[in-house]
């Protein structure tokens, strides 16, 4: 009994031994170093993907990706708690003091369940649905069922962009359901035949159907040509110049390889 307890104690204290050997801010010559990236949950999965591939090139640099949200990421960056902050919305006011790099553009798609026969919607109708004026699929040409509208939470970069670019002055109704990430909004729309939601275009897959807005399909081409307007930038933020390891990661993201990865995911690369 005593031996078991003792060894358990020793085992659990192991992580403390490593506490000293960490948080190397920038110097990595031969040693392991970490780059912390935190912020928007929209950008997060793509940063993770980039980090995975980056690790193959530079196994000594560990890129640690966290969520937390655009605002949290911006805050953390300003505080110096993270190396790179991620944001899915434009910077405002005092935030502009940060060094920002656009790593790609992302469309916001209005999605419905694949069982939903509707293919096109006008922005006026989207506004009506989300402001609570349009409540039934009947009015849009489908069956007599209430529209289960799903939105993102207050403070979300995606919601902010959606409100700015689509809702304009109209407020989102209090009766809409709320989920706190692109993935969970997509999940609700994928399982509820009567749901509608807005998510990052890069997250759209076969589980949901993206609607055309005023007959313009949300494709990377349409976005590049400026035809599909519901677009926002994905930003990497640093306080001043990025540290050595962070700079290498950012260079990778902006390189042909990095941009290729983003393009494959459905985002719009910057360097084309």
């Amino acid at each position: 009994m005593k031996i078991a307890f003792g060894s358990l104690l020793l085992l659990s204290l192991m992580p403390c031994l490593f506490a000293c050997n960490d948080k190397a801010q920038g110097t990595f010559k031969g040693r392991r170093s970490t780059v912390t990236v935190a912020g928007s949950t929209s950008v997060m999965p793509f940063s993770e993907k980039l980090a995975e591939h980056f690790k193959i090139e530079r196994p000594r640099i560990v890129v640690d990706v966290q969520g937390g949200g655009s605002s949290a990421g911006i805050q953390a960056c300003m505080n110096g708690t993270v190396d790179i902050g991620m944001s899915s919305r434009e910077l405002k006011g005092a935030e502009k003091a940060l060094n920002q790099v656009v790593i790609c553009h992302d469309g916001i798609a209005v999605v419905v369940n694949p069982r939903n026969p509707i293919k096109n919607i006008t922005s006026e109708q989207v506004r009506a649905v989300y402001s609570g004026k349009l409540r039934n699929w009947k009015s849009l040409g489908w069956i007599d069922r209430n529209i289960d509208a799903v939105s993102r939470e207050e403070g979300s970069g995606t919601r902010g962009a959606f409100e700015e670019l689509v809702m304009a002055k109209t407020g989102i109704d209090d009766g809409t359901m709320v989920q706190d990430s692109n993935g969970s909004v997509k999940e609700v729309v994928a399982t509820d035949p009567y749901a509608i939601g807005y998510i990052s275009l890069g997250v759209v897959d076969a589980k949901v159907k993206a609607l055309s807005i005023e007959d313009i399909r949300p494709t990377p081409d349409n976005i590049k040509e400026g035809r599909y307007r519901i677009v926002r930038p994905f930003l990497y933020l640093t306080r001043g110049e990025p540290g050595e390891a962070a700079g290498l990661f950012m260079a990778y993201v902006l390189s042909k390889d990095g941009q290729g990865i983003l393009k494959k995911e459905g985002l719009i690369p910057v360097n084309e």
């Binding site: 659990s12 490593f18 506490a19 948080k23 995975e52 994928a190």
Partner: protein, 278 residues
Amino acid sequence: MRLPPRFVDKAMRAGLRAQAMFTVAILVTIILIIFVKGFPYLTAEFIFSYPEDMGRLGGIFPSIVGTLFLGLLSIVFATPLGIGTAIFLTEYTRESNFTRIIRFGVESLAGIPSIIYGLFGFIFFVIKLKMGWSLLSGTLTVAIMVLPTIIRTSEEAIKAVPKTLRTVSFSLGATKWETVTRVILPSAAPGILTGIMLSIGRAVSETAAVIFTMGSSLRLPTSIMDSGRTMAVHFYILAREGISMEKAYATALVLVFSILIINILAYYIMHRMIARYS
């Protein structure tokens, strides 16, 4: 029309029994669903490899490690405080206003919901003490959460030690501290251990407090300042984002069965305690 009492008696007995069995059925159903849907994906590779593509592929090794570290470390912090408090309340004072205030404190801590612990841990450990999202922040927060449970179960275990043992020890000339450490604690050990095991179970299944203090990084935590996921957090993210239903079920399976094993161990220890005294 008044029903004959005999009939009502038999009917109510059957009805109550049915409801009790229904409750057990709920438990069995939950475990079965998780087992049936998760077992096909529970491979050695799943347990020992790293997650890829946000968890869509690969395994859950980092979160298993994260869970282990969180569970064990939080117990390391909470146990001395918990047992110490229990010893103090039972052996070193009499019931007084002082002890009542302390018990009030313990009860209140127990009643605070996990999201409030999450709020507190976030603002205090992560931000004010600048520990960031880390194993340390998570561990300290969870340690405070499980402290009341350890205090409660330790107190009960110590109280259950027969008074005669104490009097015999004193009559042999032992000091109070010697009595506590050499007589009382050893015989209360099974009960205390049971409490510790149950607390580990609680720490492992905690999500709200852990997500806001330990973070949700997919990396393998190798230092106490590293962020990481516990299995509960990983499962939550997998399930909520619809990343992979199969991996979600498999993770749930590992999680639930770990808790099951911990509970069974706790029972085993308790039964040994009963056997020792009968």
